[in-house]
Symmetry: C2
């Protein structure tokens, strides 16, 4: 099938609404569909309906009434202005102001999306996909611009560094939230060049676990995190979204405790007591403990079994049993993670946040805890349990031999070698770090791009075969495309497959980057080539994400953001924790990377703790100093902000110019007094002269009199002084 | 002399300007005085000149031209509005808005002060006391309101707790900056009740160095500091000064590197490169090292001598030599402090800050370093050097015996007792803490209130005697009051003595409180009655400070502030450091308060460091959690802020109501389409019908058509499904 034409045109469609009625009875579905069509028309959107896959309708939507969109733009800008995102109040004439600063594609799509999803009282159609009366509305998505996408991917894959224009382009197309992810990854990628060079040098000349590399890596982490905070604020200004995160959208699931009518404003407020919420938030404690226990036990067990089998066990089936821990982890971890994520969601919902952003923040924190345990615990176990205490712990691993008993041919096979003969595997830590920072990253990349592609290809093949078989069996189910007008066929084929795609979630990609940063901050000293690996990986990652968005996902709705959000906290936390782990690793392993031989006798507790104490406080001091220094750096964004502020000030001053003109000019006033108002003053003066105050102020009528009196007093004092001196001389 | 009348009236005087011409020749003085009188008249102030003490003139100033003051009020309010201090733009008609919210006394005085000191271009008289052409202007001060002062002191001395109305009253009289000091001290005093009760309990039942008390004291420190941050913001809103610290006044000594004309705004900017300043700020490092070395050496030497003489030395003149360290400290410390403060001032000036607040902040930080060393180093030396390492160090103190040699009668006296015989003095630490937290506080209070009083009394006596002698010797120098009109005599006598008073500096008092808090945060575990002592002390301190301001100082100019400024950082720092010292003290001294016996063998380094590590991280976690919890507390100030914001929003919406009305109402629009515009649409539709897009959108003209098509598709799918099922059944 030649896709050229159907791929190139979007038919002027702004959004597609997928209406699925598979599980709804006919009357209800018809009624609900009518409601949807009417709601869309109410806010000035034109609709076209076509058949979709699997009992669904595709509703194509475009703007018909400019007035409604202008209304929404105006509302959006007033809101921006009130929250300080815009420095000047929006022009009353939206059409004029639009002509001066035209909408970007992202803005246009965001505003149309708001038009559909905002509550009716705020002027929207109030469509809430998958919820309540709108449960048949499966999704709302915009159409990919394939011409642009092709160009985009081609450009990026031939260019070494992304420029700020590239980021602006993403912002204009996909909105600030996604642009912030790319800006962050690009900034991280650029910064990686420094530790990559250092790491290469350290690897060549210093070897592993060099304190010099650890210090530089730590400083680099601080500089990167603090610089990103700075750059983030700068980008937010450049993209005109600074403070956008203060514009809170009410969460639809928020349940209020009581309604309070504010006596002053008369506004009805839906209140949920913050102390009650604080109490509920205390549940996060048990949640973290539960996560640590569940995930920790699983990981530690798998870890123990692995060591037992690979290093101690010599019995039968070793070649098979070696895979046991991998099987345990690959089945157990997703299971536990699923359960814990469900619990996290329930706790976050129970915490009953008023706004979407607060909910998301709380959820992100919980997910970070889970990710932290699964990502870093294995390495932490090797570095701080297996190597220093291995000789003490490994003998206890004999318990696992019980599970192998059934397979044993004779008892001798089960006897573990004497502890004295067993030695820890000194390269284990390095191998593990390499696994997590190279192998796992590559696997991850493949999972992200190649697997979904194969899945989709397979799915399409399957569907094709299915429909062929159906046709053979008597054509009971005609293809959904049977009614398509020929000239729309290709276009509709494309849209139907876009409707089946996943929704892109930028936080997943951000999380991946933050976790990657964690390996660098926590463990890079073990194998200084970690940043080199990440540098290569992230070059590909940036392009792969672009391809993912273009090919494997529905076009994301362009949301605004002025920060990467709660992940910033995670970055700070990881770099802080790095100052502890790096110091501990350097102390434990600085003797040519082998570390203690499995018995903790050689470790001096006070020296270990002292190096941690020293490192952590050095970290905190440097962070303070670097943050201070970076805050002094000027940037185009900040300059722009100052200019805008100046413009507003100037405008206001001009407006109130007549007021200041009405005030008498300063210098003339003084002259006025001199000439005209003396007599007047004398007259009013005599009125007051009956009181001591009146008489006090009446003695010197004008500043010239004051000056004369003063001169007289000065002159007298001078004479007196002269007299006094002459007297003394006598 | 009966003072009643002269004390009660202020003659309507707003400010007194002291013009001193002692060291200026006659012509220049006359010319400069004329300039002063003219400048004051230019900004609408009336003047009266009287003779002052010691070659000075007293220029009495009051507002003559309301217009000028209104102009200044308007400017001040516009500035406030632009910096977000006021939520609404100021009314154009100042008189009207003044009638609605009248000026407080503090506001009035502040604005008149600004009228005199603001640069000429900003509408002020540009008077800069003691600087440049205004070097003869010695001071500008307002007059005490003795009636009110008497009432104030009487009220406070009979009332146990200060209410928020009392603080409001201070704010209305003395301005927000001083009110913040009193609010802070009052808040600190109230909070002290908790650790005082705990401390009493710990002293009775737990003894010294109890970990339980240490934990509670640490938590208390966090809660207090975080709560104060919260309350501070709240007070700032209540007093209408939130964000006032963003209104930067240019520093007069700022030297710009270059002038830059901004291409957009056309404003000439005087720039000093921030990187150059950063370089200069690096000097703070050497400064801190120098301070530690100089002050540290002096204190450690005095400390060593003290121990040597009181505990080791048994030779001649012991009773005299005991005072040697005290003499050393009381002469050396002020000397060194003076030198270091001078260096600090020079560094701060060299750092060349653009604004007064930045300069003050930098200076405060440096002063804090000096104060930190002199206040806490002696105790730190005892706790962490003398007690644990005493037995190792004390033998080396023999070097001091060389200095005593000349006094020795025979060599035997100089022989120190064998080290084995010497034992550390276990009560030394406790005694030292008691000295700093009780004795020193009382001494301080006395120095602050009683000594200046005596000094002033003595000075007045001396002057009286002098003038009597002068009269006896022929009356060469007539009293300055000889020309006074009888009815002004008492008044002028009072003003002349007020002119001689010191200028009140609120940061000195604040610093005292912060340093006091430091003892509590760092060492209170040694002697749990520390907070009890502070509770008593601060009750008196609050009243003593009120008396000090009323009696011993010129009436302070009422400046605004929205925070206690950089001292807040110091509080956080001290409570953080407390988490380290308290843990160390508890570990070292928990065996019935005696601690190690002078030899460090009993101290386990890892245990000490582990307790510090644990305590510090518990502290950081708790601080984060407590700050989070406190941030959720609602308060009247925050409610007020929300209300104000709502009012502004409402006002804006009402203003732009006509704009939203011009937009077609949402529901009607849909009807309009239904009835009238169908044909019109059909016509324009056929115009587009030549393109595929046009034909695509022309298929369903109206939402009702879309709904019909959709219903048809739904119905067909339902039929198909039914057919499919029936087929299967067959």
């Amino acid at each position: 099938m030649a896709k050229s034409q159907g791929i190139l045109t979007n038919m002027g469609v702004d959004y597609v609404v997928v209406f699925r009625f598979a599980s709804t009875d006919k009357e209800k579905a018809e009624q609900r569909f009518q409601q949807l069509a009417k709601a869309l028309a109410t806010v000035g959107l034109a609709t076209e309906v076509r058949n979709g896959e699997n009992h669904s309708l595709l509703v194509f939507v475009k703007v018909a009434s400019e007035e409604h969109m202008f209304g929404e733009i105006y509302r959006s800008r007033v809101r921006d202005w009130m929250h300080g995102v815009r420095s000047a109040a929006p022009e009353k004439e939206v059409k004029q102001s639009l002509e001066r600063e035209p909408l970007t594609e992202a803005e246009r799509l965001r505003i149309i999306h708001q038009l559909m999803t905002n509550p009716v009282v705020e002027g929207g159609a109030g469509i809430t996909p998958k919820k309540g009366e709108w449960e048949n509305v499966e999704s709302i998505f915009a159409l990919h611009d394939h011409t642009y996408n092709k160009q985009w991917i081609k450009k990026w894959s031939t260019q070494y560094l992304l420029t700020s224009e590239d980021l602006d382009e993403i912002r204009n197309r996909l909105g600030e939230k996604i642009a912030f992810y790319f800006a962050f990854t690009q900034s991280y990628f650029t910064f990686l060049a420094v530790p990559a060079a250092l790491g290469l040098g350290a690897w060549l000349f210093l070897g592993a676990n060099s304190p010099i590399f650890a210090i530089f890596a730590g400083i680099w982490c601080i500089v990167f995190v603090e610089y990103w905070k700075h750059e983030e604020a700068d980008l937010a200004v450049r993209w005109g979204v600074r403070g956008v995160s203060n514009i809170e959208t009410k969460r639809k699931d928020f349940k209020h405790e009581k309604e309070v009518t504010d006596p002053v404003t008369g506004e009805t407020q839906y209140v949920f007591s913050p102390t009650e919420r604080l109490k509920r938030q205390l549940l996060q404690g048990p949640f973290i403990i539960l996560s640590v226990i569940l995930l920790g036990t699983l990981i530690a067990t798998a870890f123990g079994i692995e060591i037992f089998i690979s290093e101690v066990y010599n019995g039968p089936l070793k070649s098979v049993l070696v895979f046991l821990p991998t099987v345990l982890l690959t089945t157990g971890l997703p299971l536990l993670n699923g359960i814990l994520t469900k619990i996290a969601t329930q706790i976050s919902e129970y915490e009953n946040y008023e706004t979407d952003s607060a909910y998301e923040k709380s959820m992100t924190r919980k997910i970070f805890v889970l990710n932290f345990i699964t990502s870093y615990l294995p390495v932490l176990l090797t570095a701080f349990v297996y190597v220093p205490f291995g000789a003490l712990i490994v003998p206890y691993l004999d318990v696992f031999s019980l599970t192998v008993k059934p397979f044993a041919e004779d008892d001798k096979q089960l006897e573990s070698p004497p502890t004295s003969a067993w030695t820890i595997n000194p390269s284990r830590l390095r191998k593990q770090v390499i696994y997590f920072t190279v192998t796992a990253q590559i696997v991850n990349l493949a999972m992200e791009v190649i697997v979904p592609y194969l899945k989709r290809q397979g799915f399409m093949k399957f569907k094709e075969m299915q429909s062929k078989r159906a046709q053979k069996n008597g054509g009971a189910r005609p293809s959904v495309s049977i009614d398509d007008v020929p000239e729309e066929k290709e276009f509709l084929y494309r849209i139907r497959s876009e409707a089946e795609l996943d929704v892109y979630d930028v936080t997943t990609d951000l999380r991946e980057m933050v976790l990657q940063f964690g390996y660098l901050a926590l463990f890079s000293v073990v194998w200084p080539l970690v940043p080199v690996s990440f540098l290569v990986n992230n070059w590909i990652e940036l392009r792969a994400d672009a391809i993912k968005i273009c090919v494997e996902m529905q076009r994301p709705t362009p949301w605004r953001a002025d920060t990467i959000g709660p992940w910033l906290e995670s970055l700070s936390f990881l770099s802080w924790l790095g100052s502890i782990t790096m110091a501990a690793l350097v102390y434990l392993y600085s003797d040519d990377g082998v570390g203690p031989d499995g018995s903790p006798h050689a470790i001096k507790g006070w020296a270990l703790l002292l190096s941690i104490f020293f490192s952590e406080h050095l970290y905190l001091f440097l962070r303070w100093a670097i943050a201070f220094a970076i805050s002094k750096i000027d940037s185009p964004g900040r300059q722009k902000e100052r200019k805008d502020r100046f413009a507003v000030r100037q405008k206001y001053f001009q407006e109130s110019l007549d007021q200041t003109h009405r005030l008498p000019p300063i210098s003339e006033k003084a002259d006025q007094i001199t000439r005209a108002s003396l007599e007047e003053e004398a007259r009013t003066g005599s009125l007051h002269a009956s009181t001591p105050e009146g008489r006090f102020w009446a003695r010197q009528r004008h500043w010239t009199e004051s000056a004369q009196v003063g001169a007289g007093l000065i002159a007298r004092a001078a004479t007196e002084a002269a007299e006094g001196e002459s007297k003394k001389e006598l």
